[in-house]
């Protein structure tokens, strides 16, 4: 089947995007639509003394101005974090109150104070500027180490010392003992820089309240519209679920930042009810920098010990995780269960201990961004492995290889049970593709041109397919992480697949159709994927954590199993054959070994006419399924980066980037390669270009594309992408997931390459020309002194 599993099928969704017919939230106009603008705090930390809306309310065309006291007065609930993480001593996390519109205090620059609704977008913005808020400024703290220090400004009364939780994983005493007895110990301070996700489509929402029906509709830029409806309904008390429809139409990228339910959607829904107008809000880019959840921001110390044979004996990590001013929806899970659990990397490590202090600061809330915790874990383990190899004078690839996990299943000391993998084959394949053997000659040639050439590895592993509901429930998750699907075979034989996964660039309309085409031997043209609307799809947990293949497609497979069984029953009945003899192929349902057959659409028609189906069978051909995974999946791979540094300027060029990944079964290699390309670009961006910077007053200095360095075409190389797959035993298609790998695996490869080139392991991200030049000078001075 040319369009089935493994085929490079061109994307069904492309035509509307290349012709300008995509339908994103901001493209939609509702009847009687007004526009919202938010009055936002210019201070990072302040008490609200008064809000004077008189002048704004007097402006012609201003519908209403509403504040936090009115919002809480109407019973709209506080924004919550949905994953409970307990401290070492068993105490619950200290979650401070977060109102969609601030009431007494503002805690970061951009914190929303009031919503203005007016006839036009520009008028709403002008009116927002006319709202006079009097603040009493408070002292500010932006860094996690500073926020934990004695005497630091306090953000939330119920979080003394700004500590949200002090969490641990693994065993401390045996890890300390192993490190004490180690033949070699490497210690490093490792910082993972704060990033802004920056999907190209800014967040947007249009809320409509129909008072005759007592019903709300929300168009929103969401990766998980059903989760949005659940949270808006159950926690924020906007409306019960049957009176709230959430639609996420075409969504222009997410990368995690569109998982969460933000103050703006809540305020727009509430303002629509208060004003009787449809209320539309679209973020501008600076507003996005100031309000979209940021990613990363870890400050860690790590210590790894080896015995005399180079085998790892223990790993100990301490991390301070900056969660910003409030706890966003999944913020607590990122630096804990998505981080500490992956610190074993691809290696056999008997003893691991990690503790994490999560901290409030006067900055934008931090939550999952592509990879979410796993890039931070990978960066710690892969930086320290490379550095340890250099310190011990051994080949970094060989040091990794001799410590690889080679038998599966493998239980790590940090919860995860790896189910499959072949780390050595991926490493060898990457080395071959990168021509590691020829590196010495390339380095010499580069030196002849005055350039310093370096090579760096990263052997990543991640946990995807998030996740078995009972398992995440026992770890504190407030939701189950299954997925649902519905397979509708229409009377004419065409198929609609309703899925709770959400596509915002991943190409589900193509790949989901491919697994149906494969199963029923039909053209993808006859298969339509429906997603993103709570009125159409009954429920779903959405797309993040590289889960749409391993979990979302598995739900479709389960529903197809049921459809197939019914199709075979009907055909066996009509064709007077045994069910076991029925096969589906070539657009027909046949009795094997005979010329008796029904065309596929004839079975569909038979199911709906119900004139001749087995006794007791219900008419129709539509099945639903919920799939709950049995384990996480474990994509893994080897990335090799080669760079050239200009020693005079520190300007660094990535001259080669090779990836060899194990994603399990691949449905569409073209799309998978695209996911890897994009992930690597974001990883190179983190390693060399991107950084959210605050000054001491909590003002974000990097809040526009003039200031925050987004990777552009001439910053990046072409990527050499390869696969060496092992089948995932945990789901019916054998899939592991590919969406986050590039962003997880690439940063350490880049930094390991640059540090190799300059001969100094002490280099932080982003490795800007100034940072590289400075580190190079330090290395030269050290060399001279020796």
């Amino acid at each position: 089947m040319s369009e089935g599993i493994g085929a490079r099928v061109l994307r069904k969704e492309d035509k509307r995007f290349i012709t300008g017919k995509g339908r994103y939230t901001d493209d939609i106009v509702e009847d009687n639509q007004a526009y919202a603008a938010f009055v936002r705090s210019p201070h990072a930390h302040a008490r609200i003394v008064s809000i004077d809306t008189t002048a704004a309310m007097k402006m012609e065309g201003v519908e209403t101005v509403l504040n936090g006291a009115q919002l809480t007065g109407d019973g709209i609930g506080n924004i919550i974090c949905g994953w409970a993480v307990a401290s070492k001593d068993g105490s619950p996390m200290n979650m401070g109150a977060w109102s969609a519109l601030a009431t007494e205090k503002v805690r970061y620059v951009g914190d929303a104070v009031a919503i203005v609704v007016a006839d036009t977008k520009s008028l709403a913005k002008l009116a927002a500027e006319a709202v006079v808020v009097t603040y009493e400024e408070l002292p500010v703290v932006v860094g996690s180490l500073q926020a934990l220090a004695g005497g630091a400004p306090q953000l939330h009364e119920n979080a003394p010392g700004n500590l949200i939780f002090d969490w641990e994983i693994g065993d401390l005493a045996p890890t300390d003992a192993a490190l004490a007895a180690a033949a070699h110990v490497t210690e490093m301070d490792i910082t993972n820089n704060r990033l802004a996700p920056n999907p190209m489509e800014p967040r947007s929402a249009i809320a409509t309240f129909n008072d005759a029906e007592d019903h709300y509709t929300l168009y929103t830029t969401s990766q998980n519209p059903h989760v949005a409806r659940l949270v808006l309904s159950a926690f924020y008390n906007v409306a019960p679920e049957h009176k709230l429809r959430v639609i996420a139409p075409d969504v222009g990228g997410g990368f995690g930042s569109k998982i969460y339910i933000y103050p703006e959607e809540i305020a727009c829904l509430w303002a629509a009810m208060k004003s009787g107008r449809s209320v539309k809000w679209t973020s501008d880019r600076t507003e996005a920098f100031l309000t979209d959840a940021h990613g990363r921001d870890h400050v860690s110390t790590a210590k790894i010990g080896f015995d005399g044979d180079g085998m790892i004996v223990g790993l100990k990590v301490n991390t301070k995780a900056n969660l910003g001013a409030y706890m966003s929806l999944f913020s607590s899970a990122v630096p804990t269960y998505l981080y500490g659990t992956l610190l074993s990397g691809q290696y056999n490590i008997a003893n691991i201990y990690c503790d994490v202090q999560a901290v409030y600061t006067n900055t934008v809330p931090v939550d999952a961004y592509r990879g979410a915790g796993r890039p931070e874990a990978c960066y710690v383990i892969e930086r320290i492995m490379e550095t340890a190899a250099r310190e011990m004078g051994v080949d970094p690839a060989e040091l990794r290889a001799k410590n690889f996990v080679t038998s599966f299943p493998h239980q790590t000391p940090v919860i995860m049970a790896y189910d499959s993998g072949d780390f050595a084959t991926n490493q060898k394949q990457a080395q071959k593709a990168a021509d590691v053997a020829g590196f010495r000659a390339r380095k010499a040639e580069a030196l002849g041109r005055g350039k310093l050439r370096g090579l760096g590895y990263s052997n990543y592993i991640e946990a995807c397919g998030i996740a078995p509901s009972a398992a995440v429930g026992s770890l504190g998750a407030g939701v189950g992480l299954w997925e649902s699907a519905e397979v509708r075979v229409n009377p004419v034989g065409t198929i609609e697949i309703l899925t709770g996964s959400h596509s915002h660039g991943q190409g589900h309309e193509t790949t989901f159709a491919q697994i149906v085409a494969e199963r029923f031997d039909l053209p993808t043209e006859n298969i339509k994927i429906v997603h993103g609307d709570t009125d159409k799809v009954q429920f779903g947990m959405g797309t993040y954590g590289s889960r749409s293949g391993a979990v979302g497609m598995s739900a479709i497979v389960k529903a197809m199993d049921k459809v197939e069984a019914k199709v075979k029953k009907i055909a066996a009945h009509v064709l007077e054959a045994g069910e076991d003899d029925i096969v589906i192929e070539g657009g027909a349902v046949k009795v094997a070994g005979t010329d008796k057959q029904m065309l596929w659409h004839e079975v569909g028609l038979a199911a709906y006419t119900a004139h001749n189906i087995p006794d007791g069978m219900e008419p129709g051909l539509k099945e639903t399924a919920f799939y709950d995974p049995t384990n996480f999946t474990f994509p893994a791979g080897c990335y090799i980066c080669e760079v050239e540094v200009d020693p005079d300027t520190g300007v660094t060029e990535v001259v080669q980037f090779v990836a060899s990944d194990d994603f399990g079964t691949i449905i569409n290699p073209m799309i998978v390669e695209g996911q890897v390309h994009g992930g690597i670009a974001q990883g190179i961006g983190q390693a060399m270009l991107e950084n959210v910077v605050y000054d001491d007053a909590g003002q974000q200095l990097s809040a526009s594309y003039m200031d925050y360095t987004m990777p552009r075409a001439d910053d990046l190389p072409n990527y050499s992408v390869h696969h060496a797959s092992t089948t995932c035993p945990g789901n019916p298609l054998g899939m592991k997931g590919c969406g986050e790998a590039g962003a997880i695996g690439s940063p350490p490869a880049v930094i390991n390459a640059i540090t190799d080139a300059i001969g100094n392991n002490n280099l932080s991200m982003p490795a800007t020309p100034a940072a590289v030049w400075t580190a190079l000078q330090a290395a030269s001075i050290k060399l001279a002194a020796e």
Binding site: F17, R712, D714, L716, Y719
Partner: protein, 160 residues
């Protein structure tokens, strides 16, 4: 004020306020929503259209400044409704898009780039494509397949 221009080959005239940006005119007044807004600082290129044949960031031009000029948006790029421009075909065939939000701007920049190079008789190398994409940001593709698409689109445009 009343302004008149040609948009995608048709004469259009609308009453607008003086400060209406060309992108607002295209999206809000003409409801051609293929042209996007991705930033506030003329950096991202999601809003690129052709004004008298030249790639232009429509967030950086007043609608009034386009008085009497010919504007082409992504909706008007193909010869007819049932047709695709060779560059559009190239983006599809080379998987040059994922979420699709930057895509119209990329395609409009790409066709302008290719036309300029063809007119000047110069070869559009990969390095040149990357340099000329400096005004267009994509967050999904890592540019690899966009660069491939433009190179392929360039050859398709030559042979058409």
């Amino acid at each position: 004020m009343k302004i008149a221009m040609t948009v995608n080959g048709k004469s259009v005239s609308r009453e607008v306020s003086d400060n209406t940006l060309l992108v607002e005119y295209i999206r809000d007044h003409l409801r051609l929503t293929g042209t996007h807004v991705g930033c506030d600082t003329s950096q991202c290129g999601a809003c690129v259209v052709h004004v008298d044949g030249q790639a232009t960031k429509s967030c950086t031009m007043l609608a009034a400044s386009a008085e009497g000029l010919a504007v082409t948006t992504v909706e008007g790029l193909a010869k007819s409704k049932d047709d695709l421009h060779p560059m559009q075909v190239a983006f599809k065939e080379n998987h040059g898009l994922q979420c699709g939000f930057c895509t119209p701007g990329m395609i409009m920049t790409a066709t302008d780039m290719v036309t300029r190079y063809h007119t000047q008789g110069k070869e559009l190398t990969e390095d040149a494509i990357r340099v000329h994409l400096e005004g267009n940001i994509c967050r999904c593709t890592g540019y690899h397949n966009i660069v491939k698409s433009i190179a392929d689109g360039a050859s398709k445009m030559t042979t058409v």
